[in-house]
Amino acid sequence: MTQPNRLNSGGRIDRDQPMQFEFNGRRYSGFQGDTLASAMLANGVDLVGRSFKYGRRRGIVAAGAEEPNAILQLGATEATQVPNVRATQQELFDGLVAQPTSGWPSLNTDALGMVGKVFGSLLPPGFYYKTFMFPRFGWKLYEKYIRKAAGFGRSPRAEDVDQYDHLNQHADVLIVGAGAAGLAAALSAARSGARVILADEQSEMGGSLLHSRDLMGGKPATQWVADTLAELAGRDNVLLLPRSTVNGYHDHNFLTIHERRTDHIADRAPEGMSRQRLHRVRARWVVLATGAHERPLVFANNDLPGCMLASAVSTYLNRYAVAPGNKLVLMTANDYAYRTAFDWQDAGRDVVAIVDSRADVSGHYQEEAKRRGIAVLLGHGVIEARGSKKVTGAVVASLNADGSAVAGASRTLSCDLIASSGGWSPVVHLSAHTGSRPVWNDDVLGFVPGETLQQMKTAGAVKGSYDLVACLRDGAEQGAEAAKLAGFDATPATTPEVDSWPEAKAMALYSIPHTQPNSRAPKQFVDLQNDVTAAAIELATREGFESIEHVKRYTAMGFGTDQGKLGNINGMAIAAKSLGQSIPDTGTTIFRPNYTPVTFGAVVGRHCGELFEPERYTAMHDWHVQHGAEFENVGQWKRPWYYPKAGETMQQALDRECLATRESIGILDASTLGKIDIQGKDAREFIGRIYTNAWAKLAVGKCRYGLMCHEDGMVFDDGVTSCLGENHFLMTTTTGGAAGVLEWLELYHQTEWPELEVFMNTVTDHWATMTIAGPNARKLLAELCDDIDLDKDSFKFMDWRQGTVAGVPARVFRISFTGELSYEINVQANYGLHVWEKLFEHGEKYNLTPYGTESMHILRAEKGFIIAGQDTDGSVHPYDLNHGWAVKEDKPFSFIGKRGMKREDCVREGRKQLVGLKTKDPKVVLPEGAQAVDDPKQPLPMAMLGHVTSSYYSANLGRSIAMGLIKDGLNRNGDTIYYPLSNGQVVEAEICSTIFLDPKGDRQNV
């Protein structure tokens, strides 16, 4: 396979290592060392995509992160699909498969041009703006067309087969960018002994030096790069991260680096190696040496394949040995770009002309062009590119002095490549991430980093300093300075001398005028990725958008993955000119993370699948799994939800579990309930201030239910607290509320009552808790425990005892959340499974039945016991719950919640109150959340009384039961209310007591 544009010699590619790749279904070959873009250009691939809005043919423009067109879909298999890959940043590997992402129905069909024209008129400037202003109409109408036409890749439909890692790093000095300035900075910092991280987005470090033909200290620039990297690599205080993009600069010098470890090797990562890493770096000092992106000049039809950045042409020639054409027209407003014409000529290709917008310029570069016999057209511009599928000519004309108008007759030069350079735009993105607005610098003709807000230095071209010697020296100095500020003894590294010619002043030129006004001339593209033209920006300013931020929203300039790398400054210049003001008056431009797209894989790291969130298991978890439990997530806990037997529906299982419990005995794994151990001589006083009820007289060996409120008087947690010793209590909380309650206790102890001597700690995981409930609970416990007197008169309801159960030390609490005779057996977690299994060994004859959280909910609802967070929602105080019995008003200390629940709104009539609900049809189970009304026939919107908080079918009662909040509900016992449901059905219900079963409590007191 031939590579028509490949040079026979030179470049940093390895011609002995050919590689095959596929683009758009066709096979091509390239070499080790190529990027996908350089290999495509070597093969003469002109067309890489269709433009977003107009469907125009687009080719490769740049050689780095600023490439707007060659954004491809990568992946040989469904599982390895990666969208939004810039071909300029993707290294070639053997077997690479790439697809174009934009273009519909296919890349090469020229009919698309017509489709594009149709869409062009469908999508005028202001499209986004207008669409988002009226999203109901606009978005629905356009979305499907846009999604289809715009392309930009798709996510894989199969699960990603690769692994991704997160790494936390600390650095004394983090240097971003390994070009001339960054390498010099790294030398200075590394020699001081500071921990240095040097990150660079490219496969090879060296930046522009890799395609430079300058001599540094008499040697090729690449030799200096190699020597410097060898020294850095030999130091164990230096971490070199190539292929690593610093994508975000966040608060307090926290930076994220996206490292691509294997994307250059194969379609998927080698076994045992993570594909990408996200480094989370906390750096003492940062040196930004991010360089600059060349700006293209804007002219008519400047999007034709064959229009490229001047520096990109040099990069392809010198680094990749690729000449993307034969006959070059170079347009420039500065001296630097002359090098591209010289490079082109040295590669044996034809330079048709250098078109320089400056009328009176003479210096080394012009003389060199003359010496080489290259025609230089001073005071001229390329006003239009010619060609239908790719560039075939350049229309040139003389310009007036400031480049604002065509001054003379135009003529067409035959060529197949137009390279342009409007100057350089410093890569200020990361500095802008810190909240610092870039400021315009007239000498540099670009935005440079503004006020420094973090521990950050800048070096080299990012400041607008483009001279190589100056960049090296600045890098060395800033690297040393950063190391010094980080506490190290550093001196600037000496940097080599470079022979370079002084450059004449560049001209401030952004767009080239046409003989026609912009609105009538062929399209002049400012933002190629978003298809924004000079005429569209002018239209935006005419429609009254004066701030550049508004213009950007109106035109979509700088949107998407592009983030305005190539077009923003030109767009601002055009807007400024149209508004008759300067660029800084038009505004500045702000950039947000990420600098380039980051894969979801890297963002997620290992936090997926089983590791998405920590899962907590009780000591008896394996038993539950073996016995077929369905699980429910409660906080991070996996709790058994119910235990279906073969062929059972969920309701059948629940009915069986609930009936067995009340008929004989059931068992619940209650280990997940929060347990807080509270000690100290003031523990009792402390608990009394936290809970709403009385604690002063709770004796050792006794337990008590307590309600916890916030200062506003609203219930937020509840549970049983037991007195273990005079100065020792065990508080239980809801499963989900455990961590919050502990923090709440600490908050009050530390901030309000530090004088109280009290200590608390979580002991949730220390204990396994199993609740046996039902008429046979005492009989079963007696078989396994012979050192506690279980007699009903000595071990009473709401007592606890220390003893031995199944040979294991245990705390046994006679408390009940079911209304049955019930014991909560707490043993050291490691013994949990043993005791649980012993209980089953002895419980079989009583039909000991495990029940899960759902049956627990039903059994407690039959008794009217509340669940904080289900029957309460932060707007319910104890009296609303009819739990006034749990509020001790006359405690000496004004406990938390007391004042809150006395507020005017909390004591008024007509508050929503918790009541029981019985549907008229006992088989109908109200949906939780259903809203009650008095009159279901009233006009909409109906006056709502409150919602259903808990609702179940109770097998024990043979009917449905529910609880809910009803306005003034405690005064409406026996009233009929209605629940209109979303399906049109209306459920009739009667207000009743929340206690549906055993109102006197005989069952639990036996």
């Binding site: 966040h250 608060d251 307090h252 010098n253 926290f254 906390r282 909240g435 807000l453 200062e711 506003d712 923090e743 600490e746 908050l747 530390q750 901030t751 309000e752 530090p754 004004s894 007391k898 004042r899 809150g900 006395k902 507020r903 005017e904």
Partner: protein, 95 residues
Amino acid sequence: MFYIHCPYCDEHREEEEFHAKGQAHIARPLDPDACTDEEWGNFLYFRANPRGIHHELWVHAAGCRKFFNITRDTQTYAILETYRLGEQPSVTSQS
């Protein structure tokens, strides 16, 4: 993501270890029952939302569990100091 110096651990730790708990130096009235509804409402709900210097209560939740105070610039997110409970800030909007 913030890098926070815990004045009890005397170390900088990642924000992930901490919880923000709102405005600092809001004392619970000593005699709540003597407060009017308005006074209690102010204590419950009314908080400063300054642009610039702000004093905040934080807790080293996944560390030493101690509550402490942070003086923070709400515009730049710069943490100007952290100090223990019972201490007063040395950086204020007046200073």
